[in-house]
Subunit: 334 residues, 4 copies
């Protein structure tokens, strides 16, 4: 197929913005990275990447004439405004999660997006992990019949600082939200009920923040299946990202990716590699694949592979999980 | 060590009674199988095993002079009476689960057992599976620091008949109870809260029985850790019995035992063996090991490795799970 | 099927004779163990097993009227004479390897066996290991097309004493001979050429014995396929017994059996269990299965599953390997 | 550390030249790709990569003033001349294997390289595969004590055309040479004896070419250890690249990398992914890592991580293997 070049700008040049910039330059010739905007832009880094337009003014990109798409990687509290502006400005939008932290605002901006027929894709990168994508595809083709139990293990390798957590929206909003999206993605069925239990077992400071660092969250899906997510802020052996789906005709397991394939067999024991350390390593390919999918939707004018509604849904599940945790009861999403 | 022969009788010669008889004869020279009693005893089978006393009268064994211990493998509703009689008769007792189906009755018989200083061991065989025992030992020695999350996957290969289920006491009493015991055994901490959700996804008849065939059960332990069990009555790929414990210093995983160690690598795919089919295959060694432990406790006059209280506790968790399922709320065990 | 009881006697009550006696008593009701003979018989052990006839005179069994079969587990240098006598005496014979250490003698006794139409099965137990048997079956059914490369890894966990090795006939005769038999068994094609290289890397004493402790042996099969065996007298991580067959349509791998299925994932590393320690553990099931097969051949009057000719062939390969090692050249078996 | 930019030109823009060009542009900012030369240069491809100098004249790069290093990816028969010219021209050289096909010529050019103190690194990329590099490092640090047995499995997924093979120098020169280099690299000891056996089991045309498509090659190392390589031109399940080292204190295994980490467990069987298809996928990271190492040696003026002598040695082993195959005898390299 003949690839049409998509001219793209990036808003936000923090860790994730830089990652996308590098992927666009190195792995995604179907894009032309036109510019990057960040009030604290690291100019020498941007020059090294030879990005034509480097600016501290977000507006320079939001209203740029010769840009087809914007990748929003700014702080979360700016997403709503920037999505709205970019939509009005006629750009396609790739936005890191979350859209916003408040349902009403999100619904409002999604209405704008819909009115403008804007392509909006959210950065739920895990959907594009090759193993998880393969698993989802297997579920969808009926390899295990009808799905009955979903299990997601999702544990970060190291606990973020209390300071970070204080503004993160809590573990369900900040961390589990990826798992909520994966749950809906893999089961192709809406979550209708949530029951969450949590504990502070790692960092006692989290108690004061009314947050947890360890959780088990049960889900019930519209199709009748059950699900469970277990989360921890600190898995000392590395980033633990596994998914299991059990169905009427079998089971699918997506195991961790290991750092290497060498095992050592000695007198007392056999040893092997740990999982890839964290998301930059584990989801390296996923970050590229999600932008390929974005380009493809843009060029073919087709539906977003990760719609704004998916972001809203994940947020609603996170809210229900918070409510469940507080009330010690299951919470319905219907 | 010098092994003292324990003279034992078996009450009940159904599938599990026969299994124990064969293990006693073939693998456990520290026991002498003196007799077996069953109203419907299969005499030709008993003769083949050369069991000296074969009787239809349970009393012939319960009050036999030259018997040190009784192995109770009769129908569940006879356990209470037989435990009481055997205790009064001065025998050590190995009893298949459950002790009874009613807390008050169980407590009464346990009081008798205590008064008589009777050795009573329950047949929670999974504790003696070599892999699970190794895992528990690793947890106990602190290999993963303090335990934070327990995950048990326990799925039977094929659904029992509706007729069986109608009298089984329901999935939690009949099937999950093994997992409840394992949870307490591995965590070495009491379950203080249960939240259960369930569904009928396999056999629609179960709905009429007010039973479920698929369940996810959350646990909270006295030490603050969280746990989750997922159960299914029908895993078409075989008996799925896995345990995972996550802690402050790492994770332990006990995977399934496979039918063989051969993999086939062909053009489209790599294939490997499924798990052992069901409990007779998977827990073959555990059935022998639990009786070795019983003998050892008997000879050294030490505490039961699986006490009557453990059976009571597992039953209480199952009751709480039933209550939680009915009320759609977490239930406290405190 | 209706099983006819085979009355059997054991000649030789060393480690392997005792193992067979226990298996016959505990796992093989289709046999009746009539007696055991050994000049140094351990009488108390025999009594514990309740073997009716316990004798120091081999002849008491060789010419016993009421015995259908003899299991020969005596020292290797007595096999020839005992096979001949048992054959003339009309017994079916199960004999541990080797038949003898000299081709002419072996051929002579096999002629006697043939004349008398004696069932003679050799104790190449590995053929009956469930995983290896499954692999062989897969090869035979064409799962990997035509076989092209066979690889056998066979390493003992600990080096025998120099004293043992001095009379063992050398590593190829004593240890590799099992692998030579497996090679022919799995490939269902005769070995036509051998090239062996060896080294003394573990125990320097072996050099004085003109023996090796480490070897790689190449094979060429009549069907054109190639093979390679690697042997070591000392694998500190346990008994390493793996087989790989590569063919036109794929590959089969039989991996080691591990001591348990638990893995531990900690900060620096993931650890797992080592292989079963040695042949008693690894081939436990194979020792039972080979006698089941013997009974089956005896009852149905069918051909031996491991014929005397297989033993002769394995010996010839071992001789060729010795010759190759000495001459530093490939040696033809045609 | 402060990275000095190395200005590099590429000679040869076939599959491997293009791969290196892309890696230099996308993953190796420590290089500046100045130009590429190929008589049949694909100009539109080169423009897309924005390579400043694109030429059909190799000399334009060989004698370019502002180039520090040359990457030689031209047809094999041009390597010698280009290495010599680049050396005389004062460039550092990264050259794909082989240096040449004739010992005398290679020695001559290596003398030139030595005289000019030219940095010359050969493209034995497998040394830089993360798993193989880890394994080698483990061997070197003594993780398995003294090495005793090396096993390399190296099988291509699909047979090249007879036409390709006719000019390839034969399987040992074309394919096994990588394994010969790995053998020396991992054991850190010279190969002193080779015995090769081969067969035509895949493509009958190879017989007419006096070539083989299936081979087992035994090695003996200066340190006394033994080794064995098995090669096939056609592994239908994918690129099979495994290494095993057995030593006095244990064993190291480098297994294949799989296409994904998902397994499917259904009624009859468990299935998993096959290995990565071929070298572009499997050694993707290795191609980048070898150039990083080249840059590092260039900047620090240190010894080549893969010297010309390593290339010569691998060629000598391949020649010995050819001789062994023809003579049906082991061949000494001393």
């Amino acid at each position: 197929m003949d690839s049409k070049i998509c001219r793209i700008g990036i808003i936000g040049a923090g860790r994730i913005g830089k990652l996308h910039a590098q992927n666009l330059k190195n792995h995604l010739p179907q894009f032309k990275l036109v510019g990057i905007a960040d009030p604290q832009i690291d100019t020498s880094w941007a020059q090294q990447l030879a990005i034509p337009l480097v600016t501290k003014q977000v507006e320079d990109l939001l209203f740029h004439q010769d840009i087809d798409a914007l990748l929003i990687a700014s702080p979360s509290d700016q997403h709503l405004v920037q999505i709205a502006a970019a939509s009005e400005s006629g750009k396609a939008i790739f936005c890191e999660k979350p859209i916003g932290l408040n349902e009403a605002d999100i619904k409002a901006v999604l209405a704008t997006v819909k009115n403008n027929r804007t392509l909006l894709q959210l950065g739920f990168n895990r959907r594009f992990d090759p193993s998880f994508a393969h698993l989802q595809n297997e579920v969808a083709r009926g390899a295990i019949g009808s799905s009955q139990i979903l299990k997601i293990t999702s544990r970060d390798p190291a606990c973020p600082s209390s300071a970070y957590c204080a503004t993160s929206g809590g573990m369900f909003m900040d961390m589990s939200i990826h798992d909520f999206d994966m749950a809906a993605f893999i089961m192709q069925s809406e979550v209708v009920e949530v029951y969450a239990s949590g504990a502070v077992l790692i960092n006692p400071d989290f108690a004061a923040l009314n947050d947890v660092d360890t959780a088990i969250i049960q889900l019930r899906f519209a199709n009748g299946a059950l699900g469970v997510i277990d989360n921890s802020r600190q898995a000392v052996y590395g980033y633990d990202q596994r998914i299991e789906v059990f169905g009427s005709k079998g089971m699918l397991l997506a195991d961790n990716q290991l750092q290497h394939s060498v095992s050592l067999h000695i007198q007392s024991v056999t040893t092997a590699a740990n999982p890839e350390y964290f998301f930059l390593e584990r989801y390296q390919q996923a970050y590229i694949a999600e932008l390929k999918a974005f380009h493809s939707a843009w060029q073919s004018n087709s539906a977003s592979p990760v719609s704004g509604e998916a972001g809203l849904k994940a947020l609603q599940i996170a809210q229900a999980a918070n409510e469940s945790l507080a009330k010690k009861m299951p919470v319905s999403l219907l």
